[in-house]
């Protein structure tokens, strides 16, 4: 199915957030996630279903003021 990860289209085979992150190459990286603008804690990713068209955000630490 097609979802959007950080605004870019992504084809994923499995239907969990954890599987989508794995498919997108995040592996064990230290990231935080949201699906359709709701925060999803790391511990909940494996049990969080995703559906076609879902918008996934993946963020990491960055410079800030």
């Amino acid at each position: 199915m097609k979802v959007y990860l950080n605004g870019e289209p992504l084809e994923v085979a499995d239907d969990t957030l954890a599987a989508a992150l794995e498919a997108a190459g995040y592996g064990g990286a230290k990231v935080a996630t949201a699906v359709n603008e709701d925060f999803v804690p790391a511990a909940a990713r494996a049990a969080t279903p995703i559906e076609p068209g879902d918008r996934i955000e993946v963020v990491t630490p960055r410079q800030g003021g």
Binding site: Y26, A42, V58, V59, T60, P61
Partner: protein, 260 residues
Amino acid sequence: MSDPVTFYGTEVSSRLMLGTSQYPSPAVLAEAFRRSGAGIATVSVRREAGGSRAGADFWRLISDLGVKVLPNTAGCHSAREAITTAQMARELFDTDWIKLEVIGNADTLQPDPFALLDAAKSLTAEGFKVFPYMTEDLILAEKLLAAGCEVLMPWGAPIGTGLGLNNRYGLRSLRAHFPEVPLVIDAGLGLPSQAADAMELGFDAVLLNTAVAKAGDPAAMAEGFALALKAGRLGYLADPMEPRDMAAPSTPVLGKAFLS
């Protein structure tokens, strides 16, 4: 002189909080922090592509500074966006501190006071320790404190302008109304003298980024701000004289030779 400031029960030795953005290089950032003596670094969360190491590299740089981290919600324009960003930041940085920014105007980067208050209420209810970036509005301050904020961060001037303290009356009024609340001037400073000014007005700390990072010599500017903060703070604690309109001789009049 040891003169720590306390935010949400955590004592911090320096009254200078420093941003981590816009430096010419990571090495310059690290040197600016070293010479500033800052005890708190502001950071953000941003998108990262799979396989990239940018976030991990940046995090290692910040961890090596040995300072406390204050994540922000910079760039958020709604309460919901800010709340989700805060939740992601809490997990990434393992802290419940959050510098809450909800921007209301793209030109002035002025906080939206209504969305800010909504987000602050939600986040304090979730256990966040909120540092709200706000205008110097007294009523907004009252409502943010009632919502559970224990620190307030009024702007000096719009972010990145270097204009200094635009509304001294409003800032003095805020200080006078909330003598026990830690107040941090956040944004708008460009020169060390402006930071000294803020400290002389009785503010507890100053948060800087652009003024240091965009200086020709960021590390020197960082140290200049640190010295100015100390000077201003000492001046405030020393109970300054009252200004007056009429001159008053400082040299004794009595005993002056009568010469014509």
